[in-house]
């Protein structure tokens, strides 16, 4: 029966204090809201990426292809299909062809990142196209997806020009060296003739050499150079193929090994003849290199071939292949939806009937992709991947045995959809972890408000509770009453908060889409998951009830005798036992780190011991000194742990950060509240405030005297301020510096086509010299290749930890880039005296590499992990390439790996180009970039002013931080609301005291100012420690994580000033109404109020 009585008491108490009930429910709601929003936003991120996987891959679950998308004979795809069907007749297998292209509409709009995709005209199991406009069938002609149609403003019936480089297989050279001397007689390949012929003879003279070319060989290159620099007679070279066709050079040599005669011919199997000719016989020794280029698909072959080339010295530069680009104009038969079959790879795409694309690319009967569809729909198919993969791998092994060709051996099976979904799950859980770590500060702030409210309730009802205890109510029953009252506040607060979290998550995801992802990328779709909302609600309820019940236990320990007379409790018990217990528990927790490795124990354990030692001084030095001695060293220790404990795992980070944050904040607030001399200082200042002195003295005295209430409120503020300041300070480390990003260049342009020399390309392909080149001082063309798939690069045995899409891009270092780029290095190998030497070492040794800053972070996000000499491994699907990292760049604009230019060409035959441009003095890089894009539309050139981009990136980052700050700032609402409530409560509690002040002649505005000032001081007592600890913790984290990488640290004083101003203005706004109400109460009534 007592239960019913307790329930009635709880209900009536809640009813009696409506404002307080609303405040408590609001605190519960805000805490639950941020928790719910964090979980939902993380889930949206995960769901969004998952959805992208389903949209992009459609029915395709697994793929078979090689790194570099090498072509294989169609018979290999057929063999694979047969082998799969033998094992798993329920699987659908179908080939395809993909190739990068530049698409340009008849209106002149260009899309440099388009993809041509060839599907068989008819196939089963992969669904069909969904027509948006016009045809939906490949037999009708070419289809484009909505993504491309939007960018090029295309409709069915339009013309579309495609510009592409024909796909090449990677080749290795076989080099044969011949020597001769055109003295008038033939010579063997073994060396100069002996004896030499007379110096001059009349009439032309020639020497011939023969060599054999195999079926597999692709090209034949002849390089002719003088054997002696003194000779200067023109020599000519001709290569004759087995069918009699002859290819000749026309200019002859100039007598220098750097400018040899050069002939490049398509290979034919059989015996070839090379003929070296001169106008007249003379002593004119020469060297002839015949280089046969042969396709190769393994790194080992590529390496061996390059070693052979290395012997050629400077001549090897001439082997860089000049690939002519092709044009083709097609008619668009229809526009199809960009999902499923029409969305493959997520790129803007043009879809061909496969044979037509094969013909276009000069790859008849060859494909470079095989797709596998598991039974079930787009989503269900994923579940079968684990089961299917062994069969697919076995089928591919059979295929490799059946079709013994190098390109087939390079194929591998990828669980494509599963890989994207796993990445989605990882990304989603990282985002959730990040948000919940941040929001935990707000949740703790909400908990503190609930505790504070109940503590105030306890003080208010001290007499009532003492009477209940005196009448025989047990402590646990009193605790239960308080718990029931908490439950009454939680009942509306939790569901409202959980649902409000839905709205907040929607806003958060929308803001990330609008501000961070931008309109060019796929937005994160918002997904409502009621299960998650339920989890958030349950967690919110549990956290609230634990907080309320713990406060209830404390309140139920009221001293009945003093409580009945509403007097202070007698002198508190000797804390000796509690001090000892805390010290022992702290020591044990610290020691428990040794077997467990949990840094959290090493943070909390010693902090408890330090606190206990200070606490133990209470009897000798009084409470203030003891509290200060207990708390200040804990702050110092906590900050030191940020600096010292750098190996905390990502999982532990998600809870050590809030735990340490709460510890630091509470210790800092206690230290400030008990700082020696602080009350004296406050009062000294207040007494000098003229007629405001009495009101000021009261305002400044309450917060330092009422420590529990002030501490709880200030801690709320401090927690929110801490996390806001920490992140805004910490984020300054990531500020983008335009000059550092530019590296001495002004414009960066990209094309998916290979371009060795922009000017030469213009000469060859454009009718007239583009005007933009007149504004360009110099350009550096770096071969560039992006590895599809990501997660294939490891440094020092671990994958680089960076957030965002895969950015495994290779840039080829050219001589000019090595000589002139201004990209600073951090963590440079000690063997080099300068950055320049390190860049030049890439030219000298092709196993060297330099990485950009995005690779320079470890699992904990710490920069500067790369030390010169560490090994970088690139996984190329069953094979790997190893490089020695010479250093990490400080720039992050060109995110990738810088290696020798030929390495990029070898590994990625279908590479594109990054062009770094210096503009003429006085030219506007932005305008030059626009002009370059216009002039080189055929290349699909995408040009940017590098500094402008850096500024934009900075702004984008700033917007993201703003979104986060707003999210975190929600906690401030709790702090401010709390101050309003505390002020109202204080006014109520001190009604008589305020009345006396008024009776004594203190004007009502002074009384109002006193109450508002009290709230402001309480806020400042939270803001100052929060700010100090936030900046200090950010600096400690900077020292621990980024200082080594050469990053710079600065405190964002403007942001801090704005934040503090907002907090203080909000505090004033929230406290003025209750303060004014209290100050303007009828004095006569107020002086007679008795609690």
């Amino acid at each position: 029966m007592i239960g019913g009585q307790l329930w009635r008491i709880a209900k009536r108490n809640a009813k009696r204090h409506k404002a307080q009930a609303i405040a408590a429910a609001a605190a519960v709601a805000v805490g639950t809201m941020v928790l719910s929003a964090s979980l939902l936003a993380g889930q949206a991120a995960e769901g969004g990426i998952r959805q992208v996987a389903f949209d992009v891959l459609g029915q395709t679950d697994e793929t078979v292809q090689s790194e570099g998308d090498f072509f294989v004979p169609e018979e290999a795809a057929e063999a694979f299909t047969r082998s799969v069907n033998d094992r798993r007749p329920d699987l659908q297998v179908s080939p395809a062809v993909t190739h990068a292209t530049v698409a340009r509409s008849s209106q002149g709009l260009t899309e440099p990142g388009a993809l041509t995709i060839g599907y068989p005209a008819e196939e089963e199991g992969f669904g069909g196209f969904e027509a948006v406009e016009g045809a939906d069938d490949l037999t009708e002609g070419v289809l484009v997806n909505e993504r491309l149609a939007d960018r090029l403003d295309l409709s069915a019936g339009d013309e579309l020009e495609l510009r592409y480089a024909p796909p090449l297989d990677p080749v290795v050279p076989e080099v044969t060296r011949f020597e001769g001397n055109l003295t008038g007689a033939g010579s063997a390949p073994s060396g100069p003739l002996d004896p030499p012929l007379p110096e001059e003879s009349s009439g032309p003279v020639s020497e011939t050499f023969t060599f054999e070319v195999d079926e597999a060989d692709e090209r034949v290159v002849g390089v002719l150079g003088w054997g002696s620099p003194e000779n200067s007679t023109d020599l000519d070279l001709a290569l004759q193929a087995p069918d009699g066709t002859t290819v000749e050079n026309t200019n002859g040599t100039s007598g220098s090994p750097d400018a040899p005669a050069f002939v490049n011919a398509t290979a034919q199997a059989g015996n070839w003849t090379a003929e070296v000719r001169a106008e007249a016989a003379a002593e004119q020794p020469f060297q002839l290199f015949v280089i046969v280029l042969r396709p190769a698909f393994s790194l080992e072959e590529l390496r061996e071939g390059r070693r052979a080339l290395a012997d050629l010295g400077p001549l090897q530069e001439r082997l860089a292949e000049q690939r002519a680009t092709e044009r083709e104009t097609v008619d668009v038969a229809g526009v199809v939806s960009g999902e499923g079959k029409g969305g493959f790879t997520g790129e803007p795409a043009v879809f061909f009937e496969m044979q037509r694309l094969q013909t276009l690319l000069d790859r008849e009967d060859e494909v470079n992709l095989v797709r596998v569809s598991n039974p079930g729909g787009v989503r269900e198919g994923l579940e079968a991947t684990d089961d299917v993969m062994p069969d697919l791998e076995a089928a591919l092994n059979d295929t490799k045995a059946d079709v013994d060709q190098p390109s087939v051996q390079a194929l591998s099976v990828e669980p494509s959809k599963q890989a994207v979904v796993e990445r989605a799950e990882e990304a989603g859980s990282q985002f959730t972890r990040f948000l919940t770590t941040l929001s935990s500060f707000t949740i703790v702030a909400g908990v503190l408000l609930v505790v504070n409210l109940f503590t105030m309730l306890g003080e208010e009802r001290r007499v009532e509770m003492s009477v209940m205890r005196a009448l025989g109510t047990k402590r646990r029953q009193l605790t239960a009453t308080i718990g029931l009252e908490g439950l009454l506040y939680a009942i509306p607060g939790v569901p409202v908060g959980a649902l409000a979290g839905l709205g907040l998550a929607y806003v958060l995801v929308g803001a990330v889409n609008d501000f961070v992802i931008g309109p060019d990328s796929l937005p994160i779709p918002f997904v409502v998951d009621w299960g998650t909302i339920l989890v958030a609600a349950a967690a919110g309820l549990a956290i609230t009830m634990v907080a309320v019940l713990l406060t209830g236990v404390r309140l139920s320990r009221v001293n009945i005798a003093s409580g009945l007379k509403d007097r202070r409790d007698p002198v508190s018990r000797d804390p000796k036992l509690a001090v000892r217990a805390t010290a022992i528990v702290g020591t044990l927790a610290g020691l428990a780190y040794l077997p467990t490795g949990f840094y959290t124990l090493l943070v909390l354990g010693p902090a408890a011991v330090i606190g206990a030692v200070g606490w133990g001084l209470t009897r000798r030095y009084g409470k203030r000194i003891a509290r200060f001695t207990a708390s200040a060293p804990v702050v110092a220790y906590g900050l030191w742990t940020v600096l010292a404990f750098q190996d905390v795992s990502a999982a532990e980070t998600s809870y050590i950060v809030p735990i340490r944050g709460v510890m630091l904040v509470i210790a800092a607030v206690v230290a400030v509240l008990n700082a020696p001399g602080l009350p004296k200082l406050f009062k000294g200042l207040a007494r000098r405030a003229g007629r405001l002195a009495p009101a000021s003295m009261v305002a400044l005295s309450y917060p330092t005297r009422k420590q529990l209430r002030t501490g709880l409120t200030a801690s709320m503020f401090a927690l929110v301020i801490l996390v806001l300041i920490f992140f805004s300070t910490f984020f300054t480390v990531f500020e983008v510096e335009p000059e550092r990003e530019a590296g001495g260049y002004d414009v960066h342009a990209e094309t998916r086509l290979p371009v060795d020399d922009l000017e030469a390309w213009a000469d060859e392909n454009l009718d007239e010299q583009p005007s933009s080149l007149d504004r360009v001082a110099s350009s550096e063309e770096l071969p560039r290749a992006r590895i599809v798939g990501g997660d294939i690069v490891e440094i020092d045995g671990r994958p680089p930890e960076y957030n965002g899409p895969p950015i495994d891009v290779f840039y080829g270092v050219t001589p000019g880039f090595a000589e002139e780029n201004g990209y600073e290095l951090a963590g440079r190998s000690g063997t080099f005296d300068s950055d320049r030497e390190a860049y030049q070492a890439i030219r000298e040794d092709r196993s060297n590499a330099i990485v950009s800053r995005v690779y320079d972070a470890d699992e904990a996000g710490r920069l500067g992990r790369i030390d010169g000499g560490e090994e970088l491994t690139v996984d190329l699907g069953g094979r790997s390439a190893n490089f020695t990292v010479l250093g990490a760049q400080r720039q992050q604009y060109l995110g990738g790996i810088f290696v020798h230019e030929d390495t990029v060409r070898e590994l990625f035959p279908t590479h594109g180009t990054s062009i770094l441009v210096r503009v003429d003095e006085g030219e506007d890089p932005r305008q030059v970039a626009r002009q370059l894009e216009t002039d080189f539309q055929d290349l699909g050139l995408n040009a940017e002013d590098i500094r402008e981009q850096a500024v934009q990136t900075q702004q984008q980052n700033a917007r993201f931080y703003t979104v986060l700050q707003v999210f975190l700032g929600i906690g401030l609402v709790i702090g401010v609301a709390s101050l309003g409530i505390v002020t109202a409560k204080a006014a109520l509690e001190r009604e008589q005291e305020l009345g006396i002040m008024r009776a004594m002649g203190i004007p009502s505005e002074h009384v109002t100012a006193s109450l508002v000032g009290e709230a402001l001081l309480t806020a400042l007592l939270g803001i100052i420690p929060g700010l100090a600890v936030g900046v200090a913790a950010a600096y400690a984290a900077f020292l621990a994580f980024f200082a080594d990488a050469g990053a710079t640290f600065s405190v964002p004083w403007t942001s801090i000033a704005i934040l503090v101003s907002i907090s203080l203005v909000a505090t004033v706004a929230s406290t003025i109404p209750p303060a004014r109400k209290a100050a303007e109460k009828n004095t006569a009534k107020a002086v007679r109020v008795r609690r």
Binding site: P694, E993, A999, G1001
Partner: protein, 231 residues
């Protein structure tokens, strides 16, 4: 003939409550001369405190006039009345009513600071006032570290520190035991004698009769009787 320090005519004070109107004062006429100790006696709820509040300017009568020296209190705005209270009056209340977070000396110096006095001499004056009430050794104690009598003595020190012309005391012994209460009344009498201040003491404690020059008896919002006492 000297004009009274405080003069009231036809004072009425009516409160509206949920239960209806309450007539706390029903046409009170009273004059208080400077230097007198006046006790207002009566049972609980008779309107003693209401009368004190109206006479001191804490409250405004519903009808009637109140004059303090040459100022018509009932016509003054709140700010002006507040100024008069801070500059010319002192107050002692039943529940001591010290600001709990200020020390004894800080509580005492409040009226002086309110008057715009310099802080350093203010502290000395407050110290002297505490010495005067016998608490010179407890200046840095917080109210909750003092006994009830000590707290009331601090309140008394506060009421006289700015040398007011009149001290209003509302049940100053109400929360004190008999002996302590007597000591407080002794002190008030001493101060009246030494400084010539006027004391108006609202009480239902008969022992005040021994200290008062005049005793005004109230019942149901009216002054029903006045008697002179030997005090």
């Amino acid at each position: 003939m000297t004009a009274p320090l405080v003069s009231a005519r036809g004072l009425e004070r009516t409160y509206s409550t949920e239960a209806g109107e309450v007539h706390a004062l029903r046409g009170v006429d009273v004059d208080i001369d400077a230097g007198q100790v006046v006790a207002i006696l009566g049972p609980s709820g008779c309107g003693k405190t209401t009368l004190l509040n109206c006479l001191s300017g804490i409250d405004v009568p519903t009808a009637g006039r109140v004059r303090f020296d040459d100022r018509q209190l009932d016509e003054l705005a709140d700010d002006a009345r507040t100024d008069i209270r801070s500059q010319r009056m002192g107050f002692v209340f039943q529940a001591f009513n010290l600001v709990q977070v200020l020390t004894a000396v800080e509580n005492v110096e409040m009226p002086l600071l309110l008057d715009g006095h310099e802080p350093d001499p203010t502290r000395e004056t407050a110290q002297a006032a505490l010495d005067r009430v016998g608490l010179g050794d407890r200046t840095e104690h917080l109210p909750n570290q003092l006994s009830g009598g000590e707290q009331q003595r601090v309140a008394l020190a506060r009421s006289l520190v700015n040398e007011p012309e009149i001290v209003w005391a509302d049940e100053p012994t109400g929360d004190l035991d008999r002996d302590t209460g007597l000591r407080v009344l002794d002190l008030m009498a001493e101060l009246n004698e030494e400084l010539g201040q006027t004391y108006v003491i609202v009480t239902h404690d008969d022992k005040v009769l021994d200290y008062a020059d005049r005793v005004l008896h109230m019942e149901s919002g009216k002054l029903v009787r006045e008697e002179a006492t030997p005090g």
